[in-house]
């Protein structure tokens, strides 16, 4: 081995380490570059993909649309319009050309003259300014002289088209310029006139095309394509300064606001690029003003990963709402509403919260406010009474002191004065109490309980049924509102005993049996099923607002049910909130008063305060006869399971169990939903939930499930609510707890959609940090809509009526009402009600739907309907809210001013009457006239009283096209046809119409709105005479 061979410089190579290092260097460089470009900027990839996919989609989309467009363009009509347009253009062409030539001469002349003119004018302008700032009068004069000289100076002006130049002064130029400009304007106006026909046809032709292409037209697509050509990869953000909101969501969600509706399918399956599904919603909530995250949640600033941007980490307080709870975002600003348009899940959640009795235990701002107001009113009355008593006592002491001869004259005078002042002030308290009494008079009507009164159990129920029910209400009646409490047998016995023993006792009239067959028919057609359902499992039909009555016969007492069906609000004993007791006949006889208490007799005989004279149920009176009530009750008594047996429950009379039961009833918060003797003033036992969605997560007690929740990713508000709602005892799992320490919330047997709805509602119930302008608190008529919805929901108006577009009623779902004869038996739609009826009439109707004090076994308007508009005994406030609600929905101005109609001539009155009674016109064949014989077969409202009920403008729109307002209505369309600019009757008209040139639909409306009793007689006699003729 030579030295050379040993020399490491010669022999050892560094190429290996060098290579490794250089490779590492290159790798880290590449990695660095990649990370810089895409790794921490994933949105760049999204943008690049979006551009590619969108471009591809647009190309495709153009094809079918383009084909359709070609078809339309080759259609005869389009061709005709094109021909006409071309002809018009050709016709106008020579004149237009002549004008264009003239304009082409003038325009360069104006431009050429403008320069020298402006030069002089600005010179004069600057001199004028100098005059203004020069102090000495001589200086001013010299400047004025300069201006004058400038004006007199002539200039050589050569305008295009002029043979030779002219000498012109400033004023000459001014005049000429104005002249030429006027001439130009004139010519252009002429041109517009000449081209008018062409422009109009061209517009028609464009409309013909756009009316027939459902999606985006090729033009829209092209313009989108053009903007896509300028697509830049950059961060797209919305910045709202006053809230300091930065939302960069659209850096990835690029299709959100595209004019072309993009779906995941059209964008290669990438959901991220889909357009916002509800453009209408975006229109109201412009993202440039509202941003994205205020509604959707998530971290709007974050761009580095999807998880971060969506706020799905432990430390981000407002994570993105999941799809099933997406409407939670609505709740934070629409917090005052029970119904929010376009938020069906949220509305369902609110409705469950209200209807299923969540609000009985959990306070929530705005829900069950009548109950809160009721207790605060009673309390205030008490305080004021005490105050008054104190003042009167003090006044007495003062007088006593003053009357003492040892008191000095001066002091006595002062004391008398003081005593008088106190008395006077106490009369002010009387006035205040009077106001509060009036309010409680309304509240007595408004306050409702979720469940039935338990004061009445002894009269209403079979004793043995109560413990069976308490054990598992859902097992006994599927889908009931009553939740299942986790009670042991002893608890059930104690509660049953308490309820039974605390019930009032009273006399029920003995009822003779009714006819269950008739009762069934009445139950199915009177409207009971708009709220109640009948049948079990797949057989179930009817509404879910109130109880399913398939087993009513097993639990109820017939005599009581008759009373209940006849008037559900009737109580056995009135309750005096002031004295906190149920009054008996004795209380009345003490004062020599009959034991009568109803909405006309509401004062407590003992203290004069307002009594609770009604059952706190939303169930209305259908104004049935007693016979019909007996029929329905008899039918209900037949509804039972054949093999049902109930064990003896003698323990329910054990007085020792009663106290234990009272404690349990209080513990479980039964009084939240039921009226119970002695527990009328119970407070809610649950947590307030108004801001539950923003409660810090560490304050939600996941108990032993915390770790599991974290691992499984449901340690969130959503996860907490969902698990709790599915199994209210879930957070007791594994806990060693005494019975009384365990979670009390009962099981509501919620379905998955129910849980989603309630979770949505609670997730949105947050302490919002948004500024006031975000909140939906309109000061205009929309406020009336918010208020009205609460009443509409409370009484389930939507069980019978369509109140808003897209809604179905219970009648729509019932088998019987699919038959064409029964279709027309559905209660009327209330869409557009505000424009249809006179609000004053509506107020009267809501108060008394029979429209009669004496003849109440009828419907005031539609006597031919089997279903009946019930008497709800609304308070004045509720009626006002309902009327304003309908007014606001139809954009009616308040206060109401009736529309005027033109007076009728005698001739016109005769004509209208003849038309109404002619064989060619169907009006009187269906509409009631108030003649009992005729009305017996009538199937439409009485139009002779239309003037009190309807509005003329609506009436005309209705008779012209009823199907437009109420699809499926019995009122036929096509009664009138267009004749020039008026409407004429489509059928044969009486001879008197010959030569009548006015609008015939108007004539009939004017006739209806100027109807008199005399005219009614004339109409009836001519209808009778006409009936004999063919």
């Amino acid at each position: 081995m030579s030295d050379q061979e040993k020399d490491p410089v010669v022999h050892s190579s560094l190429s290996k380490p060098l290579f490794i290092w250089s490779a590492l260097l290159v790798l880290s460089l590449v990695w660095g570059l990649y990370d810089e470009m895409y790794g921490i900027r994933p949105w760049k990839g999204y943008e690049a993909r979006f551009e590619k996919l969108y471009g591809r989609y647009l190309k495709q989309a153009k094809l079918p649309e383009g084909e359709l467009e070609r078809q339309i363009k080759s259609s005869a009509e389009y061709q005709r319009l094109t021909r006409e347009m071309n002809a018009a253009a050709a016709e106008a062409a020579p004149a237009a050309k002549a004008i264009d030539e003239k304009v082409n001469v003038i325009v360069p002349q104006i431009l050429a003259l403008n320069d020298p003119f402006q030069e002089v004018r600005s010179h004069i302008g600057s001199l004028t300014y100098q005059i203004e700032v020069t102090r000495s009068e001589s200086g001013k004069n010299s400047l004025r002289k300069q201006i004058e000289e400038l004006k007199q100076e002539t200039r050589k002006i050569q305008l295009p088209g002029w043979a030779e130049a002219k000498e012109m002064k400033f004023d000459d130029m001014n005049v000429l310029l104005l002249q030429m400009k006027a001439q130009k304007a004139d010519l252009l106006q002429q041109r517009v006139e000449i081209m008018k026909k062409t422009t109009e046809i061209s517009k028609q032709r464009d409309e013909y095309l756009t009316d027939r292409i459902p999606g985006a037209s090729t033009e829209t697509l092209t313009s989108v394509q053009n903007s896509l050509d300028k697509f830049d990869i950059q961060i797209r953000q919305i910045h709202i300064k006053d809230v300091d909101l930065v939302d960069r969501c659209e850096s990835c969600h690029l299709g959100t606001r595209e004019p072309v509706q993009l779906t995941a399918a059209s964008m290669g399956g990438e959901q991220v690029f889909a357009s916002h599904p509800n453009k209408e919603l975006l229109k109201i909530h412009d993202p440039d003003k509202f941003g994205c995250t205020p509604c959707h949640g998530g971290n709007g600033v974050a761009l580095s990963s999807v998880t971060k941007a969506h706020g799905y980490n432990k430390y981000w307080l407002w994570p993105l709402h999941h799809k099933e709870n997406i409407e939670a975002g609505c709740q934070q600003c629409h917090v005052k509403e029970i119904v929010t348009e376009m938020a069906p899940t949220l509305n369902a959640g609110r409705e469950i919260f209200r209807l299923r009795g969540c609000m009985g235990c959990h306070r929530y701002d705005g829900f069950d406010r009548e109950a809160d107001e009721m207790s605060s009113t009673t309390q205030q009355i008490h305080q004021l009474d005490q105050q008054k008593a104190e003042w009167i006592r003090q006044a007495g002491f003062d007088e006593q002191k003053a009357n003492n001869p040892r008191t000095s004259d001066a002091d006595a005078k002062k004391l008398f004065q003081e005593s008088n002042d106190l008395k006077v002030r106490s009369t002010g308290i009387d006035a205040k109490i009077e106001q509060l009494d009036m309010r409680s008079r309304s509240l007595v009507r408004e306050v409702k309980k979720v469940g039935p009164s338990l004061k009445e159990v002894r009269m209403k129920l079979k004793k043995e049924w109560i413990p069976v029910w308490l054990k598992d209400p859902h097992n006994w009646r599927e889908g009931t509102k009553m939740p299942t409490f986790r009670l042991d047998d002893y608890e059930i016995q104690a509660i049953a005993a308490f309820i039974w023993q605390s019930g009032v006792t009273g006399q029920l009239a003995q009822q003779k049996p009714g006819d269950p067959v008739k009762g069934k028919e009445a139950f199915e057609t009177r409207g009971c099923m708009a709220c109640h359902s009948m049948g079990e499992g797949a057989q179930k039909q009817g509404g879910t607002f109130a109880a399913n009555l398939s087993r009513e016969g097993e639990k109820a007492n017939y005599d009581y049910i008759v009373r209940w069906v006849h008037n559900p609000r009737q109580r056995t004993e009135p309750y005096c909130a002031y004295e906190k007791k149920d009054l008996t006949a004795e209380d009345y006889s003490k004062h020599n008063l009959p034991f009568v208490f109803d909405l006309e007799h509401t004062k407590c005989p003992n203290d004069g305060h307002e009594l609770q004279v009604q059952q706190m149920t939303p169930m209305p009176s259908l104004r049935l006869t007693e016979d019909e009530a007996r029929d329905i009750a008899s039918y209900l008594m037949t509804k039972k399971h054949d093999n049902a047996t109930y064990q003896d429950a003698g323990y329910m009379d054990d007085p020792n169990l009663k106290n234990k039961g009272l404690a349990l009833v209080r513990f479980y918060g039964c009084a939240g939903c039921h009226e119970i003797s002695g527990l009328e003033d119970e407070q809610r036992i649950g947590t307030e939930l108004t801001k539950e969605g923003s409660k810090p997560i560490e304050r939600l007690d996941f108990a032993l499930l915390g770790h599991q929740a974290e691992e499984e990713g449901w340690e969130t508000h959503k996860g907490f609510f969902e698990h709790k709602l599915a199994d209210p005892a879930v957070y007791d799992q594994g806990k060693e707890k005494a019975k009384q320490d365990r979670l009390k919330m009962p099981n509501f047997n919620f379905s998955k959609p129910d849980i989603d709805a309630v979770t949505t509602f609670l997730e949105g119930s947050v302490d919002s940090t948004m500024p006031a302008r975000y909140f939906y608190a309109p000061a205009d008529q929309r406020q009336d809509i918010i208020e009205g919805w609460w009443v509409v929901r409370k009484y389930n108006c939507m069980g019978c009526h369509r109140v808003h577009v897209g809604q179905t009623t219970v009648f729509d779902t019932m088998a019987r009402y699919q038959d064409p004869d029964w279709l027309e038996q559905k209660p009327p739609t209330l869409i557009g009600e505000g424009a249809r009826v006179n609000p004053e009439w509506l107020m009267g109707f809501l108060n008394n739907p029979a429209l009669s004090e004496t003849d109440t076994d009828r419907d005031g308007v539609r006597r031919y309907l089997h279903a009946r508009m019930p008497t709800f005994s609304f308070s004045d406030g509720e009626i006002r809210k309902l009327v304003r609600f309908f007014q606001a929905l139809s954009s009616q101005a308040a206060p109401f001013i009736a529309q005027q109609v033109d007076p009728l001539t005698d001739q016109e009155r005769t004509m209208a009457r003849q038309l109404f009674t002619s064989e060619g016109a169907p009006c009187l064949k269906c509409h009631m006239t108030g003649d009992p014989k005729h009305d017996a077969k009538a199937t439409a409202p009485n139009f002779t009283v239309a003037k009190d009920r309807l509005q003329p403008g609506w009436t005309k729109r209705w008779i012209l096209d009823p199907a437009m307002m109420a699809p499926g209505t019995a009122m036929p369309s096509g009664l009138f046809k267009r004749d020039g600019d008026r409407w004429v009757f489509a059928g044969p008209t009486p001879a008197s119409f010959n030569g009548y040139t006015k609008d015939q639909a108007d004539l009939l409306v004017r006739y209806m709105f100027q109807f008199t009793p005399e005219e009614l007689n004339r109409l009836r006699s001519s209808a009778g005479a006409g009936a004999g003729k063919p």
Partner: protein
């Protein structure tokens, strides 16, 4: 040796760069272009009566003609006048040969996926003597129904369609016939007149030409069926629906009888 290493290094680096460049591309296949919309004028398939199969049959009625209610027209004198004897409801009409009239029979399923030609002729539905005539009609989806008013009084025609668009049109005496067609299959659409609530007719709208209505002899014939297995359904306003299966070959003649009990 050195050169190999360096070369390999460069190649490696280049590969990495190459990968970096392409890793951002997502492999997505083109979605197929949307199909062009079908024309609205129906297809061109017609029943082949020469080579197709024929299904005939009758709807037997077991029992006596049920007593039909007399229609009370008393409040509409024009209607009363149109009849010499009181008019009975047409809900159930039993023919002399113990068969049921006005039953609608149609091929409910089993047909090949074809678009059938819509007949150019229209089917008449007349209003005469304040009754509909005929009481039951069948049309193809898209085929015109010609609604006439032969009465000297006003009628309104109000079919209660559920999967087709609803209409309710007034028709004065002497007014021209109203032409209507239903684009979708619907068996049956009840028709009523709100002015004369007793009036009732039924329209069977079928997406193909294989249907029939039993007449005074209670029989029906469906011609030109392609070979195959079919579900034949009989529909009657009072007696509901019945189904039967039938398999036919080319030029076959099969009988499918239905039977209804009172």
């Amino acid at each position: 040796m050195k050169k190999i290493w360096i070369g390999a290094g460069v190649a490696f680096a280049l590969t990495l760069v190459g990968c970096g460049g392409s890793s951002n591309e997502t492999a997505k296949t083109d979605t197929p272009a949307a199909t062009t919309p079908a024309g609205g004028a129906g297809g061109d398939a017609v029943p082949d009566e020469a080579n197709g199969a024929t299904v005939t049959g009758k709807v037997a009625f077991d029992g006596a003609q049920p007593k039909m209610a007399t229609i009370d027209m008393s409040d509409k004198p024009v209607c009363v006048k149109a009849h010499t004897t009181p008019v009975k409801s047409e809900e159930v009409i039993v023919n002399g040969n113990h068969t049921l009239k006005n039953a609608f029979v149609w091929v409910k399923s089993g047909l090949p996926d074809k678009t059938w030609k819509i007949p150019a002729s229209s089917v008449e539905l007349d209003q005469t003597g304040c009754m509909y005539s005929p009481h039951v009609i069948g049309v193809m989806a898209g085929q015109n129904i010609e609604i006439k008013n032969s009465d000297p009084t006003n009628h309104n025609i109000h079919p209660a369609a559920t999967v087709n668009a609803d209409f309710n049109q007034s028709q004065s005496p002497g007014a021209p016939a109203i032409m209507k067609s239903y684009p979708r299959q619907e068996v049956m659409i009840p028709v009523k007149c709100n002015v004369h609530p007793w009036m009732r007719a039924y329209i069977g709208v079928v997406s193909h030409p294989f249907f029939a209505v039993t007449g005074d002899d209670g029989t029906f014939t469906i011609k030109g069926l392609p070979p195959g297995t079919y579900t034949i359904e009989m529909v009657h306003e009072k007696y509901g629906k019945q189904e039967q299966q039938v398999t036919v070959g080319a030029k076959d003649s099969k009988t499918v009888d239905f039977s209804v009990k009172s």
